[in-house]
Every structure is written in structure tokens, then in C-alpha cells.
Subunit: 228 residues, 2 copies
């Protein structure tokens, strides 16, 4: 019993670290887009330092998970929780990289006159932030309902991305001088779309873990059912 | 001793499945770009079916790894191998998605006159294919030298991508009518760059596993050393 309590404490510590890593990613997303919106390249620079913290957390949590697997030899639900955590931190680390990509584009864009008011891009960032926060909450609390709401938000981000692409194509076609800036903004929007995709991937894993149901490839299976 | 032999057989089976999954991804990359180069939208359609196979392999291998962890309770090197395999299949599955993205763009592009001869894009695909093949070989054979050569190839792909972007910007600026097609091609090149990134991420994990060395964040650590 004593050992189990200790193991539960270790799992709690793991959860806290996961939430902490997610909040670093959330801040990185917010600040990367704020550095664009407020034309604040100093803020963009700070994201590079924060990424280092995210990378270190990935290594630390990965190590923690390996130790738990080796020393506690967890079964069933706990085993799945720990291996999922190891996958999630890979996603979070890559989300940190994407925030850095946005910050780099912001620095380039801030050196030139602003092409257009940024409306949809901050909206995408806001949703992407809420997704990473909620999906980690869903994971640590095994809340598949919250995870499903994260998947739903992915469509909103995709829709906004399509809107941004259409608008930027219009800018580019009516004035070729805008093309380099428009391409930077296309990449920013695509990074935000990918940030949302990472959270969606995690959400699908949470649902899988909680419901033992693969909704990931649900559409394909449905198709197969119909073909039978 | 009997059990250990059995465990070794299971590990061999895991390795074979990983290599098989990687070869499906390799084919998907090749065919997605061939469907663009040869303007063959039927070939592009076949990639959607193949992605389904890749997704199923991910679930099957993930399950296999969980069973190995639960029933064999592997230690040290084997433990790291199995948890790495679980991360690698996530990368491979997302690489399958990227090949589908390329195939979708190919179908759109094949409906319009070809913008330009495709030279750098097939070259990028060729390197990306070699990277996924070699990185999985490196993983199953614990060959960190081969993994390092995969990391080096990432720079080639990034260089080609920059070249493609520059060229497409020129097209767009000299003739706005080319913009929609050029944007499709920008996305194709970016998908190939991301395919290479996935292999590089796996390669870094292999090196980490084999050399127990984090080269991933090497640059940052070097910087810290200098600051001391």
C-alpha cells in the first residue's frame, strides 16, 4: 500500500509537469502572435529562450516516464497513461518549434509596413491556445468529453486558415509587391493550423485512452462498414 | 532462457513491422510526387487507400508495444527501444498524412496547365524517401552513424525548399495568374520539408538512444557552456 501511494504521488508529479509544459507552450503561442500583432520583435526574441525551457522539460519528463516504467512496472490504465505522456511531450516540443517559426516570421514582417490588419490570425492563435490548455486538462483528468470539444475546435481553425489563404491570394493577385509579406503570413497561418493539429492528435489519443475507441480512423471504418 | 528467446522473437517481429510500415510510407511519398510529376491523378487516389493501411499498422504496432511492456516488463535498452518505437509510429502515421496532402495538391494541380517543369520537388521527394528508409534501418540496427547521415540530409531538403520558394515567388511576382498554382506547389514543397523533419526527429531519437546523448538541443547547451 505504501508503494502504491508513492506511485500515485509520482503520477501526480508527472501530471503537474505535463500541465506546466503545456502552459509554457500556450504562452509561446500567445507571445509569438502578439509579437506580430503588436509589431514587437523583442517579444519574439523571448520566445527563443522559452523554447529552450520547453525542450528541457521534454527531456526531463521523458526520463521520468522511463523511470516509472522501469521501476514501477505499471499495468493497464497507468501503463497507457505513461506511454501516452511520452507521445504528448513530443507533440508539445514540436509545438514550441512552431511558435518559434511564427516568431521568426514576425521578426521579418515587423521590418516592413504592415500588409493588413491582423484579425483572423490572432483568433486562430486564441483557439490554438485554448486547445493545448484543454487537451492537457482532458488528458490528466481522463475527460474524453473535453477532448472531443478540442477536436471540434480544429474545424474552426481550419476554416479560419482557409479564409486567411483566400484573402492573401486576393492581396497577392491585385498587387505583386505584397507577395513576400503575404507568403510570410500564409506560413504563420499554416503554423497555427499545425498547432491545432497537434492538440487534435493528442485529443484523439485521450479519447482512445479513455474510451478505448479509435475515433482517429473512424471515418475509414465507417466506410468499410458501409461497403460490407 | 526460453522466455528470453521468446522475447527476442517478439522484438524481431516488432522490428519487421516497423520496417514494413516505413516502406509503406516510403512508397506513399514516392507515389504522391509521381502523381504530380506524371500528372497521374489515379495514382494520387491510390495513396488515400494506402494511408488507411499505414493507420492500421500504427494501431497494431502500438498495441504490440503495450503488450510487450505489460507482459515482458523490459529493462534499460529494450525499454527505451519499445518506447521509441511507439513514438516513431506516430511520426510515420503523420508522414502518411503528409503524402496524402501532397496527393490532394497534385489532383488540383493536374487539372490546370503545368506551371513549370518539376525538378527540385522530385529531388526533395527522393531524399525524403531515402531518409525514412535509412532512419528506420538505423533504428532497428542501433546504427547512430546512419542516423547522423539522415540528419545531414535534412539540410539538403531545406536548401531545396528555399530554392523552390524563391523560384515560385519570382513566378508569382511576374505573373499573378500563376499565384494559385504556385501556392499549391509551395505547400507541396513544405510537406516534403516536413517529411524530412519527421525523419530527422526520429534520427535524433536514435542517436539519443544509441549514444545516450541529446544532440537535439546540442546548440543550446553549447551556448550555455560558453556563457558560463
Amino acid at each position: 500500500m505504501l508503494t502504491e501511494t508513492h506511485f500515485q504521488k509520482e503520477l501526480e508529479e508527472l501530471k503537474e509537469n505535463l500541465l506546466k509544459m503545456a502552459s509554457l507552450v500556450e504562452e509561446a503561442i500567445r507571445d509569438s502572435v502578439q509579437s506580430l500583432v503588436k509589431r514587437d520583435s523583442d517579444l519574439a526574441q523571448k520566445i527563443f529562450a522559452r523554447e529552450d525551457g520547453i525542450n528541457k522539460m521534454e527531456i526531463m519528463i521523458d526520463d521520468m516516464c522511463l523511470k516509472l516504467l522501469a521501476l514501477r512496472q505499471p499495468m493497464a490504465v497507468d501503463l497507457r497513461f505513461i506511454t501516452s505522456a511520452m507521445k504528448i511531450i513530443t507533440d508539445l516540443e514540436r509545438m514550441g518549434d512552431l511558435a518559434v517559426n511564427i516568431a521568426e516570421r514576425a521578426i521579418s514582417l515587423n521590418q516592413e509596413p504592415q500588409l493588413k490588419p491582423y484579425i483572423d490570425i490572432p483568433r486562430m492563435a486564441e483557439i490554438a491556445q485554448s486547445m493545448v490548455k484543454d487537451v492537457l486538462d482532458a488528458f490528466v483528468n481522463r475527460d474524453s468529453k473535453l477532448a472531443r470539444s478540442v477536436c471540434e475546435r480544429d474545424d474552426l481553425v481550419d476554416g479560419l486558415n482557409e479564409q486567411v489563404v483566400r484573402e492573401l491570394l486576393t492581396y497577392m493577385m491585385s498587387d505583386p509587391k505584397t507577395i513576400p509579406r503575404a507568403v510570410h503570413l500564409l506560413i504563420v497561418a499554416r503554423c497555427l493550423e499545425r498547432l491545432a493539429d497537434h492538440s487534435t492528435n493528442i485529443a484523439e489519443d485521450v479519447i482512445f485512452m479513455v474510451d478505448a475507441l479509435v475515433i482517429k480512423h473512424h471515418a475509414d471504418e465507417k466506410k468499410e462498414e458501409e461497403e460490407k
